[in-house]
Amino acid sequence: MFAYLVRRLFLMLVTLFGISIVIFLLLRIVPGNIVDILFAAAGYVDPADKANLEKELGIDQPLVVQYWHWISGFLRGDFGYSYVSEKPALQEILPRIPITARLAGLALLFSASIGIPLGVISAVKQGTRLDYALRIVSLSGLSLPSFWLGLLILTASVAMFGQMPIFNPNPQTWLEAFATYAVPAAAVGFRSAALTMRITRSSMLEVLRQDYIRTARAKGASETAVNYRHALKNAILPVITVIGIEAAFLIGGLIVTETVFNIPGVARFLVEAIRWRDYPIVQNLVMLMAVVVVSANFIVDMLYAVFDPRIRYTD
């Protein structure tokens, strides 16, 4: 188990190093930099002003020097200054993380709490009307883009209630805070819930046909015990994998959801920063996300080992 842990940890560090190079180079490959954008917006260019600004921001230096400045700063916790706001990048990024984390957490919670039970029900009731209904729900979840669903929710709220669930930065009560996040989380989590439901269903159907399930039934175990204690426990591994992957993919859905619901989280902020080619923000934010995703994968791997003894015994 220890060797397994060390190997995964080493792989994690190598992956992060590779990601840092990719992030850095991709940003430089994209045409235009902050100086081009600033002058494009002003509709003129003065070569001397442009050169001064490039020097001031350090983007006139060789790429290796720029990379070293960034990565050494990142490791020290010095994220530099945003090119646009001229404030410390960390100061810009940090307040937005809890907003997106809450939204993502709620979306994942929504995904798991809706997707897993409905997936189990769908599998257990295979071929019934309920199963068909749930499959239609899950298919629509996979088919509806979250931005469209979000806009539909907003339009319906305004048309039906004359109100809209737009972000409230200072919720007064716990309920208000929940309401601020619940609707967008449901909008973004719907697709994820649908996927979880489908994976749970197919995984459960496979497990429910196994001999040990028949044995459990023969021994007189209740349906609930068979479905949840025996079947679900064995069917959950692919579901955990999917939820882990979804946690990473969620950021894509959050970008549009944060835009539609006007939530000032990191996802929307990242898109804006890319638009401005605000390297310190984009590099550090993407790197932080990479750390989170790689760590989440690491945790999922560890959970595999916990749930499946074959893995820890093999290693």
């Binding site: 045409p31 235009g32 930099n33 081009d36 954008i37 600033l38 002058f39 494009a40 917006a41 002003a42 509709g43 003129y44 260019v45 003065d46 002003d49 001064n52 600004l53 001031e56 945003s82 646009v84 706001s85 001229e86 404030k87 810009e92 806009l151 907003l154 339009t155 709220s157 305004v158 048309a159 004359g162 109100q163 809209m164 737009i166 930065p169 835009t259 539609v260 619901f261 006007n262 000032p264 929307r268 902020f269 804006e272 638009r275 401005w276 080619r277």
Partner: protein
């Protein structure tokens, strides 16, 4: 029933369009005006920007020496009023403009305002200061200013190289606030200090901008509002829905398109909406330094193929204006009269006849039904640029030109134009001040940084100077018309149309005036109040 409502909404809209000023009873103090903002401005320094995304939230922080009257829709020389100046006068054969300054004005940090601040601001703008702006897009506005001199704390003079009566118009723009000497340009980008009716509280990028009432404002009893809060909502649908749901008191100025305006009036029938020209001209930039548009016949043919009214009817449901470089009357002060405009090739009302002539020119250049000219029409990847580019491509087909749309990200647009890496470009040109000096020198003078096409006609340039020095408005107008006509005939930068856009606010918001010949100058908000 829906159509009845739609008709009623349209009728109300037409009435409201005619009157842009909200009239009401006695103004009330208090309340925070909530407005959405269309995007997150790069910084908070008006002098370093070239978009009204900066003017709208930050103009209330400042004062100018002089300003266009904020409760009149049309910006004119005769409605320029003193602000930080108490009075002004031209002396020395109209080569010196002297301002007497207001006494007792304080910056928001408590320091006194003096003539030194005025000198500092304009020295910075002219590039004569030790400190520098990161960007200085309107440096050319002050090309004719020799130096700024002060006489004590309360008098400042602009000493000119030659008379330029329009300098006053430039100084009255929302783009010309006075900055404090004691705050660096860098600090002004992040935490602006002004003398204006509202103080800066905070600017959270992509989130919000907050201003609060300046209780120590020199104009007693103003502002009426306790503050202004801008929530940044780049998604237009969300923003409009939020306005309809009552989350905002006002839309972002001139940001409601005509089709969206109909939605607003249907869903929020009590909202007050006005439609005005925003003095932004949609035009074509032509790379005349390379084939095929180095051929003047092809350039002329292209200009003659334009059906301007179709653009306006498709994009603005008829609410737009056909004109030359200068905004057409009645909102525009300097636009050519209709008869003169229609005498320019391509502006005549018979589109088929225009196109027939254009086809002849194309045939003369070697193109025809069997030999089409393939061109790329480059434009920014933004709907207001992209949509007319598509219509343009369609119209060019009628004269044997096959256009291909080349959409360019904003970051790459200007570098591409600057290195002349385009054949035809669909461009938008906004005018901060409805004055020929701003428009002509900036866009058409030889060597100007914003003269993207490098059009250079020394004869016309001489006329620029003649009109610029003319003090008789009627004489100057005729000169300007002649210049504008010549620019269109030369296909210097063919103007397609001048857009109109809408602004809406809730019925309890009073004292809002939407400017009708500029979208850069009307955001001091000191006369705005809320009746609730």
């Amino acid at each position: 029933m829906r159509s009845v409502w739609a008709l009623a909404a349209m009728a109300a809209l037409s009435v409201l369009t005619a009157s842009t000023i909200t009239l009401a009873g006695d103004p009330k103090q208090g309340g925070v005006l909530r407005m959405y903002h269309r995007d997150s401005p790069g910084n908070a320094s008006i002098h370093e920007g070239a978009t009204y995304s900066l003017n709208v939230p930050f103009m209330p922080i400042f004062n100018n020496l002089v300003i266009y009257k904020q409760d009149e829709a049309q910006n004119r020389m005769d409605n320029i009023i003193p602000e930080l100046a108490e009075s002004w006068g031209w002396v020395n054969d109209n080569k010196t403009l002297t301002f007497k300054l207001r006494q007792g004005v304080k910056w928001h940090d408590g320091k006194p305002f003096t003539s030194a601040d005025v000198k500092c601001t304009f020295d910075l703008l002219m590039g004569k200061s030790q400190q520098k702006f990161r960007q200085n897009p309107r440096k050319s506005w002050y090309n004719e200013v020799n130096e700024i001199s002060t006489n004590g704390d309360l008098e400042v003079s602009f000493n000119m190289k030659r008379p330029q009566p329009s300098l006053l118009a430039l100084l009255a723009s929302g783009y010309t606030p006075v900055y404090p000497c004691h705050v660096s340009p860098g600090d002004m980008r992040t935490h602006p200090i002004g003398t204006g009716p509202f103080k800066f509280v905070e600017f959270k990028a992509n989130e919000s901008i907050k201003l609060t009432r300046n209780t120590d404002y020199w104009r007693k009893g103003r502002p009426y509002l306790d503050g202004i809060e801008f929530t940044i909502i780049p998604n237009r649908s969300t923003a409009i829905l939020a306005f309809v749901a009552g989350k905002f008191d006002m839309t972002f100025p001139t940001e409601v398109s005509i089709p969206l305006l109909k939605d607003v009036k249907t869903q929020a029938p009590n909202a007050v909406c006005v439609v005005e020209p925003n003095n932004v001209a949609t035009n074509i930039i032509v790379n005349s330094s390379a084939p095929p548009f180095d051929n003047v016949d092809i350039r002329r043919a292209m200009a003659m193929a334009l059906d301007r009214k179709s653009f306006i009817s498709i994009m603005f449901e008829g609410q737009g204006d056909v004109g030359g470089t200068m905004l057409p009357p009645p909102q525009g002060l300097w636009g050519m009269p209709k008869e003169m405009l229609e005498s320019i090739p391509g502006y005549g009302p018979d589109i088929n006849a225009n196109r027939e002539q254009a086809r002849k020119l194309m045939q003369k250049a070697g193109y025809g039904p069997d030999k089409h000219l393939a061109v790329k029409v480059s434009t920014r990847n933004i709907p207001v640029y992209r949509d007319p580019a598509v219509i343009l491509i369609d119209q060019l087909k009628s004269i044997y030109i096959d256009g291909e749309l080349d959409v360019v990200e904003t970051a790459n647009w200007f570098p591409k134009v600057a290195r002349k890496d385009y054949m035809l470009g669909l461009n938008l040109t906004g005018n901060a001040v409805d004055d020929p000096d701003q428009s002509f020198y900036e866009n058409y003078s030889c060597g100007s940084e914003r003269n993207y096409t490098n059009y250079c006609n020394k004869e016309i340039e001489k006329l620029f100077d003649v009109q610029s020095q003319e003090t008789d408005v009627e004489k100057r107008k005729k000169l300007v018309w002649d210049i504008d006509k010549k620019l269109q005939e030369d296909v210097a930068r063919p103007i397609i149309f001048h857009a109109r856009t809408g602004t809406c606010w809730q019925p309890y918001v009073k004292g809002v005036t939407v400017m009708s010949n500029s979208s850069y100058n009307g955001y001091r908000y000191e006369d705005v109040w809320m009746d609730k």
